[in-house]
């Protein structure tokens, strides 16, 4: 089975976003980043653990009527650094984006350190620097390596 075949398993969309080459098992986290839990009525198609020549197995996420913001791409890059993001308009790929890790992620993650000033009810947005080992709180310096999506503020 080719990658083309597997992409056909999930329906084509008219307008929206196709996120391909997501690490297998991370598709639901991608939806969490997008803030999609089904309550908003979006039409979503998922391919999970589908064969991939490049990755062995991968996930694919297709969201109708929704384009990703740069902030969302920033967080996506942390869990799916090799993902490709295709913006689809009128059934055609209008833009194809190779995502890159940002230098920092602002306002999108909670700091897991309960003694961090960002958890003390102060008027400040969280800010995490992206480092080789994961992300690091710019205030208390706590490093988060695994399960970054557990700390999503979205």
């Amino acid at each position: 089975m080719t990658e083309k075949d597997t992409e056909l398993r999930v329906s084509k969309i008219r307008d929206g976003t196709v996120i391909d080459h997501v690490p297998a098992g991370e598709a639901l986290h991608v939806l969490a980043i997008l803030g999609i839990d089904g309550s908003g009525g979006e039409s979503v198609s998922l391919g999970m653990n589908v064969p991939s020549g490049r990755m062995g197995q991968k996930d694919i996420v297709k969201v109708e009527g929704r384009e990703m913001s740069q902030a969302e791409l920033d967080v996506l890059s942390l869990i799916a650094p090799d993902a490709t993001v295709n913006i689809v308009r009128e059934y055609e790929v209008a833009e194809k984006t190779e995502i890159e890790p940002p230098a920092e992620v602002v306002g999108l993650l909670h700091c897991p350190n309960r003694h961090c000033i960002t958890n003390a009810g102060e008027p400040v947005e969280t800010r995490f620097d992206v480092i080789s080992e994961g992300v690091r709180c710019a205030y208390c310096e706590t490093i988060v390596r695994e399960d970054i999506t557990d700390h999503l503020a979205v």
């Binding site: 000033i117 960002t118 102060e122």
Partner: protein
């Protein structure tokens, strides 16, 4: 030194440190002779946690420079008790004072507060985070006793939550220092500090037993193992006793080993050590005044 604030020791270059220490030496010679440096300057002391040495030495330093302090008092008697945010507190106080010294129980508090004020802000301890002015007086003391290059230092005790340790470890990466960290496994340096030390290429080793390195050390920096961090009293007693220094312990050390401690101590250094030439911790505390005079002098310039 060209910084608006002093938030962590990581922002200090070797040149910054040498400038502070050099100026501190001038002030140490005759601390009372510099009242013309900053007459009328007002320093706000905002201590959200108890403090004796840090607070009083900043107060002394400000007054020795010809300035004065305003003190927000205890948290119980301040607007904080009414629920005022730290951001609002420092924004109000910057209108009263020429500089702010902040101690706060939350990590990153000084970083955040500095983003709301234009007057110089000094981090005087942010939870288990950093304590850079303590580090400057530690470096001053180390320099007096052993020099800062070709230094072998053991740093022992609660390395996980010890903010003085974190700041000192960062600052020592500016010098040719071999750093030996001695602690129970459960109180090792936090991941963030180990990451920074690795990135800076620091010469670092970690141990559980002091005996492994004691004879090599120029300086032994002892910190309190904080009883309140342990869920189990018995576990605390086991490790606390293991990290206690007495005169007998020092038999295996070099004669000129300098024993330091940021104080307060509880029982990690036996009072029998106080009269030995190795005991440096009271000199260390006294050095807080000239070093903080130098720091304030540079920040208020």
């Amino acid at each position: 030194m060209r910084h608006d604030h002093l938030l962590t020791a990581k922002q200090l270059s070797r040149a910054d440190i040498e400038e502070v220490l050099s100026r501190a030496r001038e002030f140490a010679d005759d601390p009372a002779a510099h009242a013309d440096r900053h007459p009328g300057a007002l320093l706000a002391l905002c201590f959200f946690e108890p403090s004796t040495r840090t607070k009083m030495s900043f107060e002394t330093a400000a007054k020795r420079l010809g300035g004065d302090v305003i003190d927000m008092g205890s948290v119980e008697s301040s607007s904080v008790k009414k629920g005022e945010s730290l951001a609002d507190t420092v924004r109000v106080i910057e209108g009263y004072a020429d500089g702010i010294v902040l101690r706060h129980p939350s990590q990153g508090a000084a970083q955040m507060a500095s983003e709301f004020v234009d007057v110089p802000l000094v981090n005087a301890g942010d939870g288990a985070g950093h304590h850079p002015s303590q580090t400057l007086l530690d470096l001053y003391t180390i320099d007096e006793h052993a020099g800062l290059d070709d230094l072998t230092i053991g740093i022992m005790g609660d390395l996980k939550y010890g903010r003085t340790v974190h700041s000192l470890a960062h600052a020592l990466t500016n010098f040719d220092a071999r750093q030996h960290f001695i602690s129970p496994e459960s109180l090792r340096l936090p991941r963030s500090v180990r990451y920074d030390l690795h990135e800076s290429g620091a010469n670092v080793r970690e141990h559980e037993d002091l005996e492994a390195v004691l004879s090599e050390l120029d300086v032994l920096y002892v910190t309190r193992i904080q009883r309140e961090r342990f869920p189990d009293e018995e576990e605390y007693e086991t490790v606390a006793g293991q990290y206690r220094i007495d005169a007998e312990t020092l038999d295996a050390a070099r004669d000129d080993l300098a024993v330091m401690h940021p104080l307060p101590r509880v029982d990690e250094i036996d009072p029998g050590v106080d009269d030995l030439p190795n005991a440096t911790y009271f000199d260390q505390a006294h050095n807080g005044v000239p070093v903080r005079m130098a720091l304030l002098d540079l920040l208020l310039e």
